[in-house]
């Protein structure tokens, strides 16, 4: 049961990152890739009908985490208090920017929300990457299963680190670049003409940075958390993960160069999913490792809810996911294809 719920939450989080990831990425690039007002509208329209649904994956994963692993939810959410609150503020700012920008036809109003959109999207990406890196590195859990981390201390990876240290900052930058790349490839799929050219060019430039950062991040993780590789050594088949990471990276640049945008975007989805799966494999069966000693690790067994809760949960979860997937198919089919440039978006 613990194994199932570990992967249920992991898969939901992957769905969140892959889906909301591209609209966060579009937000990071919006100011730079789209330079005229019609182009800005097209970039926004490319994510307009779907961003809200994408973000629901975050809420659904949060709720699932809450009931399946209450100890983890309680410990992590209070321990990362400030970072989480800042994430909430960024989510509020981003949603307001996307939805309110077009409500008033006024250059200053729109420029303001364009700025909010960029800053909130970019910082969200950094915080998400840092969050994942925090989970990999571990936190100073006490005997009662709680901890509290300030935003930063001395930037070192030690037994009493901050939320931001050299390692988690690398994680943040990897996420920033990876989601920007994801957004660029998505924009290339959804747009045409000059905007598409610029999205592809951005995708090619960012790819170099992403490739370098990915190479740095793998050994950095092993330095920050030496036992990350234990599961990999135990199950050598899992070394397929780094292989797929690199294949998907190569696929991204290959298809981007050949202007096969859907395939390039597909490779980016694989890249994000496998990077996260790789982290999950490194963690299992821990949920939140301790820097204070392995006896304080929060593990699946330790945090799992009671059996009745989980059995019932599995029944409605399967049904609910089926419904959710149906809605996603309906919405994505309805808004498939390119966002037309001339009309500044779909006609209303």
């Amino acid at each position: 049961m613990g194994f199932i719920w570990f992967w249920v939450v992991a898969v939901m989080l992957v769905a969140y990152v892959v889906l909301d990831g591209f609209d966060i990425g579009v937000g990071i690039l919006h100011l730079f890739v789209a330079q005229t007002e019609p182009q800005r509208q097209v970039t926004l329209h490319s994510i307009g009908p779907v961003w809200d649904g994408n973000e629901v994956w975050l809420l659904a994963s949060g709720g699932t985490l809450y009931f399946a692993f209450p100890l983890l939810y309680a410990s992590a959410f209070s321990g990362f208090y400030l970072a989480l609150m800042i994430v909430l503020w960024l989510l509020i700012g981003r949603a307001a920017a996307i939805e309110l920008r077009m409500k008033i036809n006024n250059g200053v109003w729109r420029a303001f929300f364009d700025g909010v959109f960029f800053i909130s999207s970019a910082l969200l990406a950094v915080f998400y990457g840092a969050a994942l890196a925090n989970v990999i590195r571990g936190v100073p859990l006490g005997a009662d299963g709680y901890f509290f981390l300030p935003l930063w201390t001395d930037w070192r990876v030690g037994p009493q680190p901050g939320i931001l240290d050299w390692y988690t900052v690398i994680g943040g930058v990897v996420a920033l670049v990876a989601l920007a790349e994801h957004g660029a490839l998505y924009l290339a799929v959804k747009t045409e003409g000059e905007l598409q050219q610029r999205a592809r060019a951005t995708g090619r430039v960012l790819w170099i940075a992403l490739f370098a950062l990915t190479i740095i991040s793998l050994p950095a993780s092993v330095i920050a958390r030496p036992d990350t590789l234990d599961n990999y050594r135990k199950y050598p088949l899992t070394f397929a993960v780094p292989v797929i990471v690199f294949l998907s990276l190569l696929g991204m640049i290959h298809f981007c160069r050949k202007a096969e945008d859907r395939k390039a975007f597909g490779c980016s989805c694989v890249y994000l999913s496998i990077m996260m799966a790789g982290a999950a494999i490194g963690l299992y069966p821990r949920l939140l490792p301790a820097t204070t000693g392995a006896q304080y690790d929060i593990t699946i067994d330790h945090a799992l809810s009671g059996p009745h809760t989980l059995h019932v949960g599995l029944a409605w979860w399967g049904f609910g996911m089926l419904l959710a997937l149906t809605y996603f198919v309906i919405v994505y089919r309805m808004f498939r294809g390119k966002v037309p440039v001339e009309s500044g978006g779909y006609e209303h």
């Binding site: 009931f67 399946a68 959410f77 609150m85 809760t309 609910g320 978006g345």
Partner: protein
């Protein structure tokens, strides 16, 4: 500063601000379905224009509900981690179900409803409005199930490690408290929407701009308003109160300001509780009524606060007393206003009767106050417990989140929500000023980026 108090204010402030928006979303989505139904049945384009106007209001309102709602799900863990840890196995479940069964539905079909009118058939568009309505009411149900378990825990057991678990999922969902509270709450949401719609109608009729649409708003708003204001008191409020008297007797005593148990207990209409002297100052009271309301006979004894140890009293007791009286007083006012308006509507005089139109115009803030006061009654009435009878409030908060950190984020939310309030008011003003019959060219400006 006291960390516990700050965590309480943190949750109270964010949830109070949040609930200003969903109450309108839930009520309005129902009234929009009514307008869309009327449009299809009468083939009168003005109903569609009316529905489009309210869809614009709904879009802005819904956004505010979403952005202020996300922090709520996180705050169980951030600010109330001890509570989250022990009860996650119970209340995490309805919260997760809200995400899976409601938010996916709402987010998918709100976009189709707002911007898919031209791509969908009339019935297709009607269906998307209906699904938005259903989604928002499902969401309300799961939140009430969560709250009801905290008010009246059922179907649980305690595992050896001190963690609570559901023993019957069905029992959790059909908690009698939840069903009563849900009916009472949703009726309250419809009242908010009905008053808002009636106020807009009265405004356009009094202004003599878009008067045709104003009359539609009045007709739909007053009809819904008269039904919901009555069901708010009877049966939902009445049944909820009696159930509460049985299961939270200390709460009822504090709400009513009954310090001493007695038969023929009076109802205090107004007064100022003095907790130390244990009496109501300057009371205006009617004898026997409270006994009658709870037990159906004036002879019955109602338990007063004297039967409970001081540490089990809801606190702050005077605030509970006031918010309950504000809720009940306004609820009575709603019935009165809406019955007068409905009679006038029935006789065909409402559209010309300024002395009714003006109160309808000016009353729209009151349901917000009443709904807020009602929730404050529920939540203060639950004190001093997080989970009634099981977990006390000091056993629930995040003890490693210092008061300085809690104050920092509380002030952050206050600042951010001030900005959101200003944006909301500006945007709603523009929608109301532009009016319901916007020419097609101007329509575009209001379109959100969610395209059609």
């Amino acid at each position: 500063m006291d960390a516990l108090l700050l965590h309480r204010i943190h949750f109270a402030f964010t949830i109070t601000f949040h609930y200003l928006f969903p109450q309108l979303t839930m009520g309005l989505s129902l009234l929009i379905v009514a307008l869309k139904t009327a449009a299809i049945r009468s083939k009168d384009e003005r109903y569609n224009q009316a529905a489009r106007f309210w869809a614009k209001v709904l879009a802005v309102n819904f956004l505010m509900g979403v952005v202020t709602g996300i922090p709520m799900e996180f705050q169980f863990g951030t600010n109330w981690s001890q509570f989250a840890r022990t009860t996650g196995g119970v209340i995490g479940q309805p919260l997760a179900m809200e995400g899976v069964f409601s938010f996916f539905l709402e987010s998918a079909f709100l976009g189709l409803f707002l911007f898919g009118e031209k791509r969908l058939s009339a019935w297709g568009h009607w269906t998307s409005a209906l699904l938005v309505f259903i989604g928002s009411w499902i969401s309300g149900f799961f939140i009430i199930v969560t709250n009801a378990w905290m008010q009246h825990p059922v179907a649980y057991r305690v595992l050896p490690n001190g963690v609570y678990e559901v023993t019957s999922f069905w029992g959790l969902l059909t908690n009698p408290w939840a069903l009563l509270q849900y009916a009472h709450n949703m009726s309250g949401a419809v009242i908010t929407a009905a008053f808002v719609m009636s106020a807009a109608g009265a405004f356009y009729v009094l202004e003599n701009r878009f008067a045709d649409h104003g009359r539609i708003f009045l007709r739909v708003g007053v009809t819904a308003g008269v039904i919901a204001s009555i069901t708010q008191i009877f049966p939902t409020g009445d049944l909820h109160g009696r159930y509460m008297a049985k299961h939270q007797p200390a709460t009822i005593a504090a709400m009513e300001g009954l310090f001493n148990s007695r038969t023929g207990a009076p109802i205090v209409l107004i007064g100022q509780p003095d907790e130390v002297a244990r009496r109501i100052d300057n009371p205006i009271a009617v004898n026997d009524v409270l006994s009658f309301l709870i037990y159906g006979t004036t002879k019955a004894e109602v338990t007063g606060l004297d039967r409970f140890p001081r540490e089990d009293w809801p606190e702050p007791m005077p605030l509970l007393f006031y918010v309950y009286h504000i809720m009940a007083g306004l609820g009575t006012y709603f019935v009165f206003v809406m019955i007068v308006a409905a009679l006038s509507l029935w006789k065909g005089k409402l559209y010309h009767t300024r002395w009714i139109l003006w109160p309808l115009l000016l009353s729209f803030p009151f349901p917000y106050i009443a709904n807020t006061a009602g929730w404050l009654t529920a939540e203060l009435g639950r004190q001093p417990w997080v989970v009634y009878g099981l977990i006390r409030v000091p056993e629930g908060y995040s003890k490693y989140v210092s008061s300085g950190n809690a104050l920092f984020t509380l002030m952050g939310f206050m600042g951010l929500y001030t900005v959101l309030s200003i944006l909301f008011i500006v945007l709603i003003y523009r929608i109301v000023d532009a009016g319901p019959a916007v020419p097609a060219a101007a329509e575009k400006e209001f379109a959100s980026v969610t395209p059609d």
